[in-house]
Symmetry: C2
Subunit: 225 residues, 2 copies
């Protein structure tokens, strides 16, 4: 399953353009767009800084190319592997096996967090596929009915992304040497427990809020910032 994408980085009789793009994806994913500078990208790609500009025009255009490329890689994965139904499942699989597509998934999470040019497309893709999965699950009885499947889809995507990018400060709650992936592993079981049995032992909170919503005026579309 490794042949889909040529991301065995640093290995390269790759074209310089590809080396630059791969280096950029790696650094954007780990350090973010702002913090990453062209010289560092060039260094990791083994070329000069100006060659980056020569090939991509600007840092911003380089980002857009990276967005396109990662989106394509993740979607290609979806198409090639019949066990994966969509990009949301890419994330689920990633949580199960963080070694594959590590970089691409992290890149996507960062792209959404930083609102990169293609962020909306990443997000739309995931939310729509998540919503489809949830609606199907609700229909076939494997998932509980929801008052708002769309919002539920956003919620599941949001929490998946959060788990992919657990901040260091939070991971340290498990101990000084616990990294992001190790923290993910530790969190996986409680997540599943909540998704299976919930957290609250009774309906007090839920009924309180739903009663409150029934009483109040429908207010869903308003914005108050």
């Amino acid at each position: 399953m490794r042949s889909v994408h040529p991301d065995d980085r640093a290995d390269a009789d790759l074209t310089a353009q590809a080396k630059i793009r791969n280096a950029a994806i790696a650094q954007f994913a780990t350090d973010g767009f702002q913090k990453t500078n062209l010289r560092a990208i060039a260094a990791e790609a083994g070329v000069s800084a100006s060659l980056v500009i020569h090939h991509f025009g600007s840092k911003e255009k380089l980002r857009m190319i990276c967005d396109e490329y990662v989106l394509e890689v993740l979607l290609a994965r979806t198409r090639s592997d019949s066990s994966v139904t969509g990009m949301r499942d890419v994330v689920s699989e990633y949580l199960a096996d963080p070694t594959e597509y590590h970089l691409e998934v992290q890149y996507m999470a960062r792209a959404i967090a930083e609102d990169s040019p293609a962020a909306a497309r990443f997000a739309d893709s995931m939310v729509n596929e998540s919503e489809a999965i949830l609606r199907a699950g609700i229909l076939d009885g494997s998932m509980r009915p929801s008052s708002d499947p769309r919002a539920l889809a956003v919620l599941t995507v949001l929490t998946s992304l959060a788990m992919l990018t657990i901040p260091r400060a939070l991971a340290r709650a498990f101990g000084p040497d616990i990294s992001g992936p190790a923290a993910m592993k530790r969190i996986a079981l409680p997540t599943l427990e909540i998704y299976t049995h919930g957290l609250y032992a009774n309906d007090t909170f839920l009924t309180a809020v739903t009663d409150l919503l029934v009483t109040a005026q429908p207010d869903q579309g308003s914005n108050d910032d």
Copy 2:
């Protein structure tokens, strides 16, 4: 309850130092530390850029002062309002009423995401208090037992923070004009539904994973990145 902190910004017979600090908190919270530059802070505070340095020494020291201040404001709130048991509850309350402490809570979320100097203290405070709340809830029967209360605490903090900082790209899944707070409101009910009834209608996934964990070697502390 408004008198605790003087954050009615721009209103000011405040000292210049305070105006600068408040402006910095606002910009760090919304744009992040890296993206924010001293001139913009100075402009919003109505002073010159060099005055910022004069009072705080450096941008990094300014950040530390802001960290301290926000931490103090949030903890003071905890102490002053008996209905709030801890910083984690500040977040819960915020989700209910985003107008108060909006900035401080957002600042904290960003500080953790960006791993600011005080991020660990923000995170520790929230996780510890969350864990205490969860353990108490489990003891008194209002919450379901957990295989790992500590990890559950981290999970609840993680998801709370994620909801506080819903990326634009995800909020747009609700429509082009839905802002962060409006998206939060829409997500609140599905969250509560999951916390009450779970998502999965049966135990298939959970038992599969727990069986797997029983079979496998205890592996909790390992890191694999």
